[in-house]
Amino acid sequence: MIGQYRNLMTNIFHIKLNSAPLPNPQALEAVIRDHQVNNFVGLTGAFANTYGAIPVATAANPGDRAMSDMDDALALDNLKTLKAGDQATDIELQSADAIENSASQAAPGSAPFVTATAITSAINAQALTQKLLAAELRQEAGRIAHRNTLRKENATNTTQLRGVLVNLLQHQ
């Protein structure tokens, strides 16, 4: 039964989901999905190649640059957290297999050891889930902040336009 279930789950976990057809997105997608944490520099490069770099200081106003930088930073933070989470999930799955193997050979006296380990593993998995959830919340907060910034910009532009129009009418 363990063999059947484990094989099915292993097959599901190893389904290839890569979908990008163009070179830059392909490179980014590959680095996002590689479950490694030692190539963050490559991730940043692939991200910049796909989504573009932050404009230089003379090409955009500081607010736009800061907001773009923050948006990119949140996206990259989450992608890095995602990669770390993928690797941590692999380790969790290895741990789960080890616990399952040990449970199949356990004696009544060794069962408490296996039970305690399984509970610890479950707590670790919950902490991992909460960390990824926190990253998602940060991303969502960044998205809301970005939209609100655009609304504020629209309000400011409207006020300025009204002032300009009033000024124009007064000159006539």
């Binding site: 930088d69 923050m70 933070d77 890095k80 741990s95 006296g109 380990t117 670790n124 902040a145 300025q160």
Partner: protein, 163 residues
């Protein structure tokens, strides 16, 4: 005979002169004098004693000893069962090995969760990102300020006065 009479006389005069010492001496002699022992052949006490002791020994050996041997057998069987089935040493060691190995795994996960992921490049964005990733609730108050700074639109004044 005369010497004996003299000795008695001397003793009598000493006792009369030292009554307290004489009494103490008499008491010491009474308490330290050996008691008469019963003869083994004539007295039936020893035979009764032997019979009683034999009976007790027989009861201990056959009745109590048999029961104790059975208890010991059950005890040994229980101990063997516990060692072989409930607490087999090799499986206990295997479980302990599993715990140690998985502790290593959990340490790896903790290290992974503490890898720095900061990515912002501009100062204001770096400040906000640092606050967001600090895991420090004491920095909650700084979140709003850092957020305002990172999204502030410092449009040059010249661009606004188009007319």
């Amino acid at each position: 005979m005369k010497r004996f009479a003299d000795l008695l006389r001397t003793t009598k005069s000493w006792m009369l002169g030292h009554k307290l010492r004489a009494v103490i001496l008499a008491l010491v002699l009474v308490f330290t004098a050996p008691w008469p022992a019963r003869a083994q052949i004539i007295s039936p006490c020893c035979a009764l004693l032997v019979a009683g002791l034999s009976s007790i020994q027989s009861a201990l050996t056959k009745v109590v000893g048999g029961g104790l041997n059975q208890i010991l057998g059950v005890d040994k069987a229980m101990q063997q069962f516990q060692q072989a089935v409930v607490w087999p040493q090799n499986l206990i060691n295997q479980a302990r090995g599993l715990v140690g190995a998985l502790q290593g795994n959990y340490n790896q996960i903790q290290n992974l969760m503490h890898i720095p992921v900061n990515s912002a490049t501009l100062p204001t964005a770096q400040q906000l990102e640092q606050v967001l990733l600090s895991r420090n609730p004491n920095q909650i108050a700084q979140t709003a300020g850092a957020s305002r700074r990172s999204t502030r639109r410092d449009t040059p004044a010249g661009q606004l006065s188009l007319f």
